[in-house]
């Protein structure tokens, strides 16, 4: 299978997945969306009539008046196409088309910090913050993890190896958000070192905003790194243990090449393909996993937006955010696949 064909097939699968995700999301929230939209119309019509008492006065009987209101409501439902059920092909197709061209419509309740209720604006405001926190954390985690893992893997059975492995196993069974609660309890309320809420108290337009943001970011960042690097180190260690047993490493050892050079230049390079794959995956995985962590630390990013949207059933935001999360996830899977193919020549010729 040639590389081009490989990429083409992967991309097609990814696009298929994206469509399926969208369809599933619409199917799951569609019926609720209808109810909410129809209620919105009824409310709107009533509000218009109460604002304009002349309409009510022009009717002699209550029945006629009620009929008029009902007609108004039906008319609007028809113009918006809501008379057809949400699962009718036209409506699903239309919704999907609009989402594909990144037109997510307007949010029902939530707004961005600047006051816009356009879902696109809200998402654009939140994504950079999530990327800032979680990408920074993932990069720090992977750097610590790779070096610690390489060190542990080259000295199997040593103290460093044992401590790293033990830490990895133990830290992986703690939920990050619970450690987050403990960290807030300890460092924000018992010792007043860091702020408890990660949302900076000053407006983004003020000059000290970046510094305030970084200061507020410290506690979540430390927590995520603390819980994350152990698993990384353990993975890298296991790859290294495998690689260090390979013949070419043993040959290099017996040739008297410096051990550090062997570890960091030859062994680590050989373990690179799986490590890079995991790096790409955990970068995107962190974005999805951010929902609970952001809720705990009150970090104003995608995760908290998603959580807030769920709690008030703000459907346009739910659909938009799911779409963006899926796209990011799929892109990183694709990149991971391609990198793997690039670093491991066996994939190309398979």
């Amino acid at each position: 299978m040639g590389l081009k064909r490989y990429i083409a097939i992967r991309s097609l699968t990814m696009f298929g997945v994206l469509m399926i995700t969208l369809l599933l999301t619409i199917a799951l929230v569609g019926s609720n969306m209808d109810v909410i939209l129809k209620q919105g119309i009824v409310y709107q019509v009533r509000a218009e009539i109460t604002e304009n008492p002349a309409i009510a006065e022009s009717f002699s009987t209550v029945e006629e008046f009620d009929k008029f209101i009902q007609d108004q409501i039906d008319q609007r439902i028809e113009t918006l196409g809501l008379d057809e059920p949400w699962y009718s092909p036209q409506r699903v197709g239309f919704t999907m088309y609009k989402i594909l061209i990144l037109d997510f419509g307007n949010a029902t309740f939530l707004t961005s910090d600047s006051g816009s209720s356009n879902v696109g604006d809200i998402l654009l405001e939140k994504i950079p913050r999530t990327v800032l926190l979680f990408t920074t954390a993932t990069i720090i985690i992977s750097i610590i993890g790779i070096f610690l893992g390489a060190l542990a893997g080259s000295k199997v059975g040593s103290a460093v190896d044992r401590i790293t492995s033990a830490f990895a196993v133990i830290s992986s069974s703690f939920p990050v958000w619970w450690i987050g609660m403990l960290m807030i309890f300890l460092f924000a309320f018992t010792y007043h070192i860091f702020p408890a809420r990660a949302t900076p108290s000053i407006l983004p337009t003020e000059p000290g905003y970046i510094l305030a943001l970084l200061y507020h970011m410290a506690l979540p960042l430390i927590t995520i790194v603390m819980i994350g690097f152990g698993a990384w180190a353990y993975l890298v260690r296991n790859f290294m243990v495998g690689t260090m047993q390979e013949d070419f490493i043993i040959a290099k050892k017996s040739a008297g090449i410096d051990k550090k050079k062997i570890i960091y230049k030859h062994a680590l390079k050989n373990a690179a393909p799986p490590i890079i794959t995991i790096l790409a995956l955990s970068l995107s995985g962190s974005l999805g996993g951010a929902i609970i962590t952001e809720a705990v630390f009150d970090w104003p990013g995608m995760g908290r937006l998603y959580f807030e949207a769920i709690s008030v059933m703000d459907l346009p935001i739910i659909i938009g955010a799911t779409y963006v999360l899926t796209v990011l996830f799929l892109i990183s899977i694709l990149v991971a696949d391609l990198l793997y193919g690039y670093f491991d020549p066996r994939v190309k010729t398979e």
Binding site: I20, L28, V169, P175, M181, F185, A196, V241, T326
Partner: protein, 453 residues
């Protein structure tokens, strides 16, 4: 891939210290679940979210054992429902309930409540008095129960804030010369002349006098409000956290094991079948696998919980949807290797049915790997469920650890320093996860000889 025999696995496992620790933790958790199911009546946890059930418990009280570590003893919340009963039948009958309280704490109780459920006829007089450690006797309440000619059941709660109690205390202490009207009743009666806590033996006497002896006390309870209670303390809604934590154990084990077993079985059969069939079937099945793999799990779980149902049993199903994928991939590649072995090819040539080959020849080879994956996938299921519950999407009929943490977060436990509301549930989640991680790692090391060194 070399196959490992069950006896060999057992022998190797007994050698692994971590694996044994895991088994010990798991066994203790199972014992804890059995204790929870047998000792705590099932309606207690059904009543978890019913505030009426917890009314006689204290609000946000620390665990009682905290008193062993602090200098100032925190008053313990006492629920006394086992009084000494004395009855006298004379012209005037007397039923006396005596509550003995050893009070040796360094702070006053927050309040006291006397609760009585009594069946009687005629007119009865209820008197509550208190004998203090200095042998002085104070009359707290003296009131007649509603008159009735026929037999009735009367339920009454007398609070320490009751006006009669305040008046009686004023009379008593004014005579002694140190009445302070800004002090509450409980602070008055538990104080010595200097206004400090008077430690020692208090005796609450509840006497019911009547002309005819038709008195039957069904329930009589004295609650002395404190700031420490039970093994695990209580939360803002007065719930005994020990009940929630205990009941969380069987629930977490159920969720974790059900999801892990279910998804491993599905993944194993799916993967092996795809690998064994090969060609177009394999291709199609693996593409479907890719689709599920690429779905963002947590957002979808949240949408499913919100739109379909947050029932714990459905949640187990939802979690399975997202967790069989990885296992299917690995089983497929293992099946691809086993398929080429001679005995499989031989049985194929002999015309054995495909299903028989898959279940008799290939899957048994993968069982050690399957057990390791079951153990390894349990913690993820438990933490994911806890996470969903933490977001408030859990099943409200079952108190899980995640829900306890959700409530803790809602009521700002971290900000208020209520550590006993945050630390134990998380510790339980971590310990349970750890037990399975230990067992899984030990098994993995045996099944995957590459990791051995």
């Amino acid at each position: 891939m070399s196959s490992v025999s069950p006896t060999e696995i057992k022998r190797e496992f007994m050698k692994s210290k971590i694996g044994l620790i895991g088994v010990i933790i798991l066994l203790s958790l199972v014992i804890l679940s059995v204790v929870a199911i047998t000792t705590i009546p099932i309606d207690t946890f059904k009543q978890w979210n019913n505030p009426g059930n917890w009314i006689s418990y204290p609000k946000t009280s620390a665990p009682a054992w905290v008193n062993y570590f602090v200098m100032e003893k925190i008053p313990e919340h006492l629920i006394l429902d086992n009084p000494t009963v004395v009855t006298k039948d004379d012209i005037i009958s007397l039923t006396s309930h005596q509550f003995d309280v050893q009070y040796h704490y360094d702070d006053f109780p927050s309040d006291f409540i006397y609760e009585i459920n009594v069946e009687y006829s005629g007119s009865q007089l209820l008197q509550i008095s208190l004998i203090r450690p200095d042998n002085s006797q104070i009359l707290l309440v003296s009131k007649s129960l509603p008159q009735s000619d026929s037999k009735i059941t009367h339920h009454e709660r007398i609070f320490s804030t009751d006006g009669n109690i305040k008046k009686n205390i004023q009379i008593h202490f004014s005579e002694m010369g140190f009445y302070n009207q800004n002090t509450t009743s409980e602070n008055m009666i538990f104080a010595n002349n200097n206004g400090d806590v008077l430690k020692g033996n208090y005796l609450f006497l509840v006497n019911i006098y009547g002309i005819n002896e038709n008195v039957n006390v069904i329930d009589s309870k004295l609650i002395l409000g404190g700031k420490a209670y039970g093994m695990m303390g209580t939360d803002e809604l007065r719930r005994d956290l020990a009940v929630g934590l205990l009941w969380g154990t069987p629930l977490a084990l159920f969720i974790g094991i059900a999801v892990a077993v279910g998804s491993v079985i599905v993944g194993l059969i799916y993967g092996v079948y795809a690998g064994f069939k090969g060609k177009k079937t394999d291709e199609a099945m693996m593409r479907f696998n890719d689709v599920i793999y690429a779905l963002p799990a947590l957002p979808f779980l949240i949408i499913l919980a919100v739109t379909i149902s947050n029932s714990i049993f459905l949640l187990v199903g939802f979690l399975m949807i997202f967790s069989w994928v990885g296992i299917a991939k690995v089983s497929r590649s293992m099946a691809l290797q086993i398929k080429t072995r001679q005995y499989v090819e031989a049985s194929q040539m002999m015309g054995q049915k495909n299903s028989k080959i898959v279940f008799k020849h290939i899957i048994p080879q993968l069982l050690p790997y399957a057990f390791a994956s079951i153990a390894i996938s349990v913690p993820a299921a438990i933490t994911t469920e806890a996470g969903l519950s933490f977001l408030g999407l859990g099943d409200p009929t079952f108190p899980t650890w995640g829900q306890i943490l959700h409530d803790a977060n809602t009521y700002g436990a971290a900000a208020r320093g209520i550590w006993w509301w945050i630390v134990p549930p998380g510790m339980m989640i971590a310990i349970t996860g750890l037990a399975f991680v230990f067992i899984g790692n030990a098994l993995d090391a045996i099944v995957n000889p590459k990791l051995k060194k």
